[in-house]
């Protein structure tokens, strides 16, 4: 599905020790498995079920996501910057497909 796109808002620079907010969004229908099509058949569940943020390879935050999270899942979290950081965000879909985005935060 080429229409599943991450969008991330992260600062370009931070001071050592600064706590910054990272805002993430991924376009995804988050089909809950509750809806029925016009013939009455249940539309199968297909959601983003996991979100993991790593800073320089080390996990800083993650979320286990259920169908109750809205379409185009928005997740914001905070992170303490200790050094120049490569922040990698990975979203996993039911079935194992992964989508990712990388943000670089410099010290300054």
């Amino acid at each position: 599905m080429s229409n599943i796109k991450p969008r991330v808002k992260a600062p370009k620079t931070a001071k050592v020790g600064e706590i910054v907010e990272i805002k993430s969004l991924i376009t995804h229908e988050m089909e809950s498995g509750q809806r029925k099509d016009k013939d009455g058949a249940v539309i199968p569940r297909k959601i983003i079920n996991k979100f993991v943020a790593t800073a320089n390879g080390k996990e800083v935050f993650s979320a286990a996501i259920a169908p109750a999270i809205s379409a185009n899942p928005y997740i914001a979290f905070k992170m303490k910057v200790e050094a120049a950081t490569e922040l990698k965000l990975v979203w996993t879909e039911d079935g194992g497909a992964e989508f990712s985005d990388v943000q670089n935060i410099a010290i300054g």
Partner: protein
Amino acid sequence: MTNLTRRDTMVLGAASLAVATSLNTPALADAKTADESLAKLGLSGASASADLVLDMPEIAENGNTVPLTVSVKSKMTADDYVKRVVLVADGNPAPEVVTFNFTPASGEAYASTRMRLAKTQNVIAVAETSKGAKLMAKREVKVTIGGCGG
């Protein structure tokens, strides 16, 4: 077989749903109530605490997307930090909403997202710290237009 009848499509759909749910359903999807869901996660018996703030609107204009923010007052040091905050809802088709996992590198135990609410109900947050403390906060959200496809 070039033409799939609608019956074939439905059987195909039902079969793929069965496979999809059996592969992807985590253990706690069997929990019927919010309390059962918390119990399965080892989070029964949390005490209401003002240190855990669950911020949600009193009235949700659109049950399809209701914003929420959780934050826990914590030093977030290696010896004393919030490990996770679990959110459940007591009036949705399934109680699980989301679990946020934090580390000391989070700096603050804070997260924000948007959820679906099928109808007016309570949303309950339970925070667990590295020292084993369990905190709870609850919000009732009134919903005018439900958001679960029903």
